[in-house]
């Protein structure tokens, strides 16, 4: 994945600042709560939502189980339609392929359709290093790019910004990148959108190369599908002569009919729309002299940790994700911590299970992500492909604290437990021992009861975090089991 996030601190540390940033929390709270309510309404309209969710899950699972077969079929269909397929094992390889393809056209500029895959591999930075400027054309991505910022949400990358901040970024930065913002720009949505439209139009008309991702790839025809709201993606797909699409290998669906399910569940889950405004599909190349669309088409299929994830029988369900971002919008942790704390282009609940699988759990932030959840289950409930995120979180916690077999770059290896959990491990063992011996538990309870007047109001060590903001419960004079014995199960009680 992108090197941009390397060296990120662990989640709790990164979240600490976000929690105390009032503007950020306000922006996030407002945005997530609005979309949350709308989504619930849009979903409630569908009497067959449960069936659609199950169908989406089954289609994805079936495809993942036979991924080898469908990938070969896709390659054949794309090639037959005039496109060229490239395979990239990791981010570096994918970036090199794309840079070489752009250089072969002689161009130094590309326009981009919003794409998670290209962010995941850090394509823009890699192209910049080769002297190629990549221009984001999605409004929110544009805001992030102009602000020299990082996206903090899958669907609304600039969710952490409010209108005033966006106005300032446009006024300050647009001239550096092309057409400047109009004089006296205000923060009304219409004016901001118009400023972006003018700025981008200049880019669309000039660019010879477009770079995109895709929401789906249909194996039977080699068709790529982009679902979007603004139409800027469609501009990038129809105007440039060369199109380079970078897509994760898990985006495949076998047939066009399968799209029927996802084109219903994706827009309702992500933007709470019954149907998304622009669904663009393209297959291979066109004769650009007579038709819209690219005359040269390259598909770069990236693995970047996906087949390793596929090898894990509990964790592989994360690959069903259609990036709708519904789980972010309902997540109480995301709402307070903000997207940047997750140290990845995939924030929120899905990020917490996807990043440590795609990247491994070696770094500080990746080892902390499985714990960035209270396991409340809201993400699972809302997910349109029924990914049991809490289940995978607990599974990854196990990997962090106990180690175990994993697949890394196609090889089976056995991970050692992560460092820094020794005290916890010892405590868990001791607790297990006490709980396996009711007598020991009882002795402990009695000791706690007898010494209860001496208990401190605040705790040392890891408990300090608790008692800093919450009062501790007081220990009762008598644990229940003593009462039960003393009163013979309450029979000695006054009735």
């Amino acid at each position: 994945m992108s090197g941009t996030y390397l060296g990120m601190p662990a989640f709790p540390k990164a979240a600490h600042e976000a929690v105390h940033n009032a503007t950020l929390r306000g922006n996030l709270r407002h945005a997530t709560h609005t979309i949350r309510g709308k989504r619930a309404k849009a979903v409630a309209e569908m009497s067959d939502w449960a069936e659609l969710r199950e169908a989406g899950k089954l289609i994805k699972d079936h495809t993942l189980r036979h991924l080898d077969r469908y990938l070969v079929q896709l390659e054949e269909s794309v090639t037959a339609a005039g496109g060229t397929v490239h395979w990239a094992v990791d981010a570096d390889e994918a970036n090199r392929i794309v840079a070489d393809l752009v250089k072969a056209t002689g161009e130094t500029e590309v326009v981009k359709v919003k794409s998670m895959a290209t962010q995941e591999i850090g394509l823009n930075e890699a192209l910049e290093a080769e002297g190629i400027h990549a221009y984001e054309t999605d409004l929110a991505e544009l805001i992030v790019q102009l602000g020299k910022d990082r996206p903090s949400h899958i669907l609304v990358p600039a969710i952490h910004r409010n209108r005033g901040e966006i106005r300032d970024i446009f006024a300050r930065e647009m001239s550096e990148w092309g057409r400047p913002a109009p004089e006296g720009l205000t923060d009304t949505p219409a004016e901001l959108a118009e400023a972006a439209r003018l700025h981008l139009r200049e880019k669309f008309l000039r660019a010879k190369v477009g770079v995109s991702g895709a929401n789906f790839m249909v194996a039977e025809t080699g068709t790529l599908v982009v679902v979007e709201s603004e139409g800027n993606g469609r501009m990038c797909l129809t105007l440039p002569e060369t199109l380079i699409s970078v897509v994760g290998i898990e985006k495949i669906v076998p047939t066009w009919q399968d799209l029927e399910v996802f084109l219903q569940t994706l827009p309702r889950s992500s933007t709470a729309e019954r149907m998304n405004p622009y669904t663009s599909t393209w297959t291979g190349t066109t004769d650009s002299a007579t038709a819209d669309g690219p005359s040269v088409f390259h598909l770069v299929l990236i693995d970047n940790g996906r087949t390793d994830t596929l090898a894990d029988e509990v964790g592989r369900q994360a690959l069903r994700c259609i990036r709708c971002s519904a789980c972010l919008n309902v997540c109480p942790v995301y709402e307070r911590a903000g997207g940047h704390a997750y140290g990845s282009v995939y924030p929120g609940p899905i990020g917490a299970i996807l990043s440590p699988q795609l990247r491994g759990t070696a770094s500080e932030v990746d080892a902390s992500l499985p714990y960035a959840s209270s396991l409340c289950g809201a993400c699972y409930e809302v997910c349109p492909v029924a990914i049991d995120i809490p289940e995978v979180l607990v599974h990854l916690r196990e990997r962090v604290v106990q180690g175990g077999p994993v697949t890394e770059k196609g090889n089976k290896v056995v991970l050692k437990p992560a460092k820094g959990h020794a005290a916890e491990r010892a405590a868990m063992r001791a607790a297990r021992w006490a709980f396996s011996h009711p007598g020991a538990l009882r002795t402990g309870q009695r000791l706690a009861s007898r010494s209860r007047r001496l208990h401190p109001r605040t705790l040392p060590g890891p408990g300090r975090a608790w008692s800093a903001t919450r009062d501790l419960p007081t220990v009762p004079a008598e644990p229940f089991r003593d009462w039960w014995q003393r009163t013979n199960g309450g029979k000695g009680m006054s009735k």
Binding site: A372, S374, A378, V394, A431, T469, F480
Partner: protein
């Protein structure tokens, strides 16, 4: 009907009054309650923190202690969900690891017989009016594992609505997590505290005197935050409300 009370280790140690309330309530409803002394902990804290292998012996012990009873009742949505939802999964994982069916077969008998208290009252005993009296203004917080793990739905609210003297007021953002989450409260203390504070502010806005829930762990977190924020509200377990009568009121 002879049922076993699975009180949970947290309630046994810190909230014995909840256990006494369950005994009082069930006895009043004609149920013969036993408290098997061999019980300790269902293993949830271990399991959820990533120590599944440490949780397995606790699950086996749970099954040994409780398997002979007709029903197992627990005043905790969270521990109830552990047995019903996660014990089968532990069995499956053991099987996937090539350890055969032993664990799954050991745990299977207790899974369908384990009920959270409000489920037991409504589904098994078939009562919603338990003859309780509690003259207070109350708001109800549905805890996550009860809500999404067990699917308790309207059961707790229906029970509360039938309590004489009780005025039930809706909690804004009721379905949102309070931020406890077991070790989450320690590992991500800032986020946990922010979630708790928002929950308490929502509760305060209802004007209720009491916040009620079916899980003392969440109530410990919410109550600890309430005390720190000096709201004057009290956290009370639903069992204590349902056990309260005109003759013997719970404060």
């Amino acid at each position: 009907m002879r049922v076993a009370l699975f009180l949970t280790c947290v309630n046994d140690t810190l909230y014995p009054e909840t256990g006494r309330a369950v005994v009082k309530l069930l006895t009043r409803l004609g149920v013969d309650v036993d408290f098997p002394m061999g019980q300790t902990c269902c293993g949830q804290a271990h399991y959820n923190t990533g120590y599944r292998h440490e949780a397995e012996p606790l699950a086996r012990k749970f099954s040994d202690v409780f398997r002979e009873y007709e029903a197992i009742v627990t005043p905790s949505g969270s521990c109830g969900a552990m047995v019903r939802e996660l014990y089968p999964r532990m069995g499956e994982r053991a099987r996937a690891e090539g350890r055969g069916d032993t664990l799954a077969r050991t745990l299977a008998p207790v899974v369908p017989k384990t009920y959270e208290l409000t489920e037991f009252l409504v589904d098994v005993l078939g009562v919603t009016d338990v003859g309780a009296y509690y003259p207070h203004k109350v708001t109800y917080h549905p805890t996550c594992h009860g809500l999404r793990g067990l699917g308790l739905g309207e059961r707790p609210r229906r029970l509360l609505q039938a309590v004489k003297g009780l005025e039930l007021v809706e909690l804004p953002g009721a379905d949102e997590c309070c931020g406890f989450g077991g070790t989450f409260a320690l590992k991500n203390a800032d986020v946990s505290a922010a979630m708790g504070a928002d929950k308490v502010r929502n509760a305060e806005s209802t004007g209720a005197e009491v916040l009620c829930a079916a899980d003392n762990s969440c109530l410990m977190h919410i109550g600890g935050t309430m005390a720190r924020l000096r709201t004057g509200m009290r956290p009370v377990h639903i069992a204590e409300i349902l056990a309260s009568t005109e003759e013997e009121p719970t404060v």
